[in-house]
Symmetry: C2
Subunit: 307 residues, 2 copies
């Protein structure tokens, strides 16, 4: 612990709606220590952010010097710690120079919240993904193409010349959670198993006729009632139908494009399988690594900035 305190140079944090992840960082870019907590933005009022953060990091802070803290995610939303106004596209992803600096009560920390990005028309917003994109571009500065970030609100992001040119959000992940866990389909989808064949067939089915989505979803319930369809098949079908409809709608973002999937393992694999069935072999990169890389890039930009 004492060693961590001595080496601690700066702190990275991803403060989402449900969770907070913290990395205590050495100057070299090495992670000294990781901390996770469930004090997400959704459960806090603005004045609770600093005490919650200090509860988790205070014991690690050195005396006599100030540690920069770089935060991305929903902490910068209007209902968060302090609003970090969106950067409009087209633009490079935000870094320390566009961050919102927070006046803290404790002088041992110097807090920067990275802004999200916005698009005027079609109206769209992101908070958190822009930092993952910055991390990816730090390692792949010449990348030109589309980054797909699967999640609660999946993003398709067009990148050119290190800039976010345009993006579209599909609320596919949130729809999946609502439909599979809370609709009448929940009786036919509760399963920890997965049927990859049923998923692939449902992707194809929805891509060929996305308009009948609400009808094909109900059919999952009827298949269970009438033909004894298993819940593993039902669950994979809900996911396949929703992702298939999304792929049909996001076609301009992937057809003939250079694509990479940036996300967590399970959901990334589902998108990868769906795109692969369209003849697109797509590489994946892990989102947590990219988040940290993006926060590192933001910190480095601060360090190199004339003070």
């Amino acid at each position: 612990m004492i060693q961590t305190t001595e080496q601690l140079t700066w702190i990275a944090a991803d403060w989402g709606t449900s969770n907070l992840r913290i990395w205590l960082m050495a100057d070299t870019g090495d992670v000294l220590h990781r901390i996770s907590a469930d004090c997400g933005m959704g459960s806090l009022t603005p004045d609770q952010f600093e005490p919650e953060l200090m509860k988790l990091i205070a014991e690690h802070l050195p005396n006599g010097r100030t540690v920069p803290v770089f935060i991305c995610g929903m902490a910068g939303a209007k209902q968060g710690w302090a609003e970090a106004p969106y950067t409009a596209v087209p633009s490079e992803p935000p870094n320390a120079t566009t961050a919102t600096r927070i006046k803290t009560k404790d002088s041992r920390i110097d807090v920067y919240i990275l802004p999200g990005m916005k698009q005027k028309a079609p109206a769209d917003v992101m908070r958190g993904e822009e930092t993952q994109i910055a991390g990816f571009l730090a390692a792949n500065p010449k990348f030109d193409g589309v980054i797909c970030l699967p999640g609660t609100h999946t993003k398709w992001v067009h990148i050119s010349a290190r800039e976010v040119v345009s993006f579209r959000t599909f609320m596919t992940g949130e729809l999946f959670a609502l439909i599979a866990d809370q609709s009448v389909l929940r009786h036919s989808t509760a399963s920890s198993d997965w049927d990859a064949k049923a998923f692939a067939a449902a992707v194809e089915d929805a891509m060929s006729n996305p308009a009948t989505l609400a009808s094909k979803l109900f059919s999952i319930r009827a298949e269970a009632l009438l033909h004894g369809q298993s819940n593993a098949v039902g669950r994979a079908k809900v996911s396949g139908l929703l992702i298939g409809a999304e792929l049909a709608g996001a076609r301009p973002y992937w057809l003939g494009q250079n694509i990479v999937i940036l996300g967590e393992d399970g959901l990334s694999s589902a998108y990868q399988a769906a795109l692969s069935a369209q003849g697109l072999p797509v590489p994946t990169v892990p989102s947590e690594t990219m988040t940290l890389a993006g926060l590192c890039a933001a910190y480095l930009a601060l360090e190199s900035k004339p003070q």
Copy 2:
């Protein structure tokens, strides 16, 4: 009360997932008394149905004779009072001759539960709507065309020669409730106002490109955050996008067809407006009247049946 008891000939009931509606009927078809309760099928175990019913009707029952009770809806589901197995389409809607007769503890009632209808492929089911259809056909025996029954699970039902030929369910109403009240959009849709123009535009928008539904839905949140869009507009847009996507998917059911909408006022008006914008003036009939008419038709079939 005594007069009701003397004239009471039979009882009609619509026992849904959330509510129970009862009509005490005179032989002439006149309604003597109405009763509503929130003891829906979803809150009862099979052995609770008879006591719940008796609690509501016992005081009205005559002594010395048995009163037939005709029930439609979810009381006949597998988890209901007793399973009334589905009638397969194509077929006339069920009536007393295909009803499931229940052995009751109290000999003053003779209970019949009307079955729902099922379709093998595409797999689909209904429970309750078939009785409304029977009611409509009792008054319109020569109707040939499509009945649209808007609701939690909207049905499009193809009728020919008094038979249900085929049908499709779209879970549009349930999706609306989940998205407007429980998703991230709830912050941008909570309103008792309604914007008819925004609804109409959203219907058009979704009909022209239903695949981007999950993206256009998220845009409602972004429009509120970035451009201050009102919740009345947001709510109407969610409804318009979902109904527009449904109309695109249900096109074979309404294009060039003779259509009638059978449902409750508010939702029927929304579907009527959406279809009217497609150049289809569609009449509406009220669902409660049709439910009762369908139960009456079932009762009359029992009366005319050789005992």
